[in-house]
């Protein structure tokens, strides 16, 4: 290739970007719309696609069978069964999973192990904390659905252009 025409073409490709809108998302202020919860249907044996963020625990469905904890056993040992003061007829031992997010790898295999539709994963990925103890989510804390207050932006793709609104 000719040096002059090659250099000119390279410069042209770069200059074409000048008027375009930028692709970068201003993350802490805004974020993209996430897919819904990742949940598992034990009857069909398959999961519903969604984002695998922090868990959500539907306390009234949990029977304390420990299958999630066993599934996690050799993966990250993040789930521990803890006692909670709740009078629940389907959970005689009254034990519920507690997740340590300092260890969790977000593989979601605990959700796939739950036969009672009690565990799912939410679109909440922002688990930043200054202390490790804050990353241990008790069953009551896991039962609260996440509230994402950040403004949502859409990521748009056109033929030669990709940008965040």
């Amino acid at each position: 290739m000719n040096i002059v025409s090659g250099t000119f073409k390279a410069l042209y490709a770069a200059l074409r970007q000048l008027p375009r809108r930028r692709m970068t998302m201003r993350y802490p202020d805004v974020q993209t719309e996430m897919a819904g919860y990742y949940t598992y249907d034990p009857k069909l044996g398959i999961a519903k696609p969604g984002y695998k963020g922090r868990h959500i625990l539907w306390l009234d469905k949990c029977t304390g069978c420990q299958l999630c904890s066993i599934a996690c056993e050799n993966i990250s040992q993040a789930i521990e069964m803890v006692k909670v003061n709740r009078n629940q007829p389907n959970n005689k031992k009254s034990i519920f999973p507690q997740v340590d997010y300092a260890k969790c790898v977000f593989c979601g295999l605990c959700v796939d192990a739950c036969p009672f539709y009690a565990l799912g994963m939410t679109e909440d990925f922002n688990l930043v904390s200054t202390s490790k103890s804050n990353l241990v989510y008790s069953p009551e804390k896991l039962a609260i659905p996440p509230k994402i207050t950040r403004k949502k932006v859409e990521f748009k793709i056109e033929k030669e252009l990709a940008y965040h609104e």
Partner: protein
């Protein structure tokens, strides 16, 4: 005189002004967790000794203590850029031992995910290759566009990089209904983007000057060293597991295997570029041919495999990836052996570096697409 090895302990060495021993890595920005020592005479490299093993975590041994499904998140982490392609041969070998037929739709979903992962891995490679050649734009653009493909993978896999999507028996979830439209939009965008890449980088005279005739690996050397993937294809050997030993439904899909005869860094870069195009075409065909139906054979979490051996080979982003599992009939494998392409390509590094200039060293090193974590396992 050869360089002292690690086992020789302390040593003293006479050095002169024009002969130097330079240690590159493991803290070198770009070497990854990998160290190699080069001896230079003036500006020419006369000897190179790679020293892998800084990120050896005993992955093969760890699989012996986990059930088949529990190993998957751990296996993924040894090749973060290429997670579906490293879990796929493992799952296929485990399925062979368990005697399971995977439903066709699951196999198509696996193909879509592994081709998507190939693009993600190649774009990461391209970004680093760009900055190694001093081209900052080629660092920013691919890493930005990589995010779009990560978003595509996230729609199916539910996570950005480590999906744990393939499991023995099939895949974990079906794709969302809006995936096809989104993928077509992304491919249309990325095809125009690849033309931009060519204008600014691949067809640029500066890039050709830096890479043409640099680090030439001849066809006979490539075969005798046993290299894999792009390194082999850039040396004129048409070898691709997807065509040689088709797995999943690759035999129903038409695609080309880019082969260049030059064997230099330029050829290895062009193979990467062409493969991204082919991967997009494969995903397009998969989305059209995909049948409806089941995506998973339900297995018990404590699924037992029959006693015996299974060997499965697939084409990962960096070359042929193979898993050999020996089972004694229990819920855990007796032994697994991973044959990873990065480690096979490493042997070409001393061959390519000797005789080249120090300034060409980053370009040659990264053109092998060496991923230390995958090689050390």
């Amino acid at each position: 005189m050869s360089l002292p090895t690690q086992s020789s302990g302390l040593f003293t060495e006479q050095v002169s002004e024009d002969k130097l021993v330079v240690s590159i890595g493991p803290q070198h920005p770009g070497a990854g967790h990998f160290r190699f020592t080069i001896r230079v005479e003036g500006d020419t490299i006369t000897e190179c000794i790679p020293d892998p093993g800084y990120v050896h975590r005993g992955g093969e041994k760890q699989t012996e203590y986990r059930t088949y499904i529990q190993s998957i998140p751990m296996i993924e982490r040894s090749s973060l850029l290429d997670v579906t392609n490293i879990t796929l041969p493992y799952c296929m070998a485990a399925e062979e031992l368990m005697g399971i037929q995977v439903p066709p739709r699951a196999q198509y979903l696996r193909m879509i995910m592994s081709e998507n992962q190939r693009i993600i891995s190649h774009l990461y490679w391209l970004g680093i290759q760009g900055i190694f050649l001093g081209h900052s734009t080629m660092f920013m653009w691919p890493l930005g566009d990589r995010d779009i493909f990560i978003d595509l993978g996230q729609m199916i896999g539910g996570a950005r990089i480590t999906y744990s999507y393939c499991v023995p028996g099939g895949v974990r979830n079906d794709m969302p209904p809006n995936f096809k439209d989104r993928a077509m939009k992304v491919f249309e965008y990325f095809e125009s983007r690849l033309k931009d890449y060519e204008r600014i980088f691949f067809r640029s005279p500066l890039f050709e000057k830096r890479t043409r005739g640099v680090g030439v690996l001849s066809r006979s050397d490539a075969i005798s060293l046993g290299v894999a993937g792009q390194v082999l294809r850039a040396s004129g050997v048409k070898s691709d597991t997807r065509i040689d030993e088709p797995y999943c439904f690759y035999k129903d899909i038409s695609f080309e295997v880019p082969v260049y005869d030059d064997g230099d860094t330029w050829a290895r870069c062009m193979v990467h570029l062409e493969e991204m195009r082919q991967s997009m075409s494969i995903i397009r065909q998969c989305l059209e041919k995909m049948p409806q139906g089941q995506i998973k054979v339900k297995l018990s979490p404590q699924q037992r495999a029959q006693a015996g051996e299974a060997y499965c080979r697939t084409e990962a982003a960096r070359g042929a990836m193979a898993f050999h599992i020996i089972s004694d009939g229990s819920t855990k494998p007796y032994r697994t052996k991973w044959s990873v392409p990065s480690f096979r390509n490493l042997i070409a590094l001393p061959k390519l570096l000797v005789g080249s200039h120090v300034a060409d060293m980053p370009a040659i090193y990264w053109s092998l697409d060496y991923w230390p974590v995958e090689a050390d396992r």
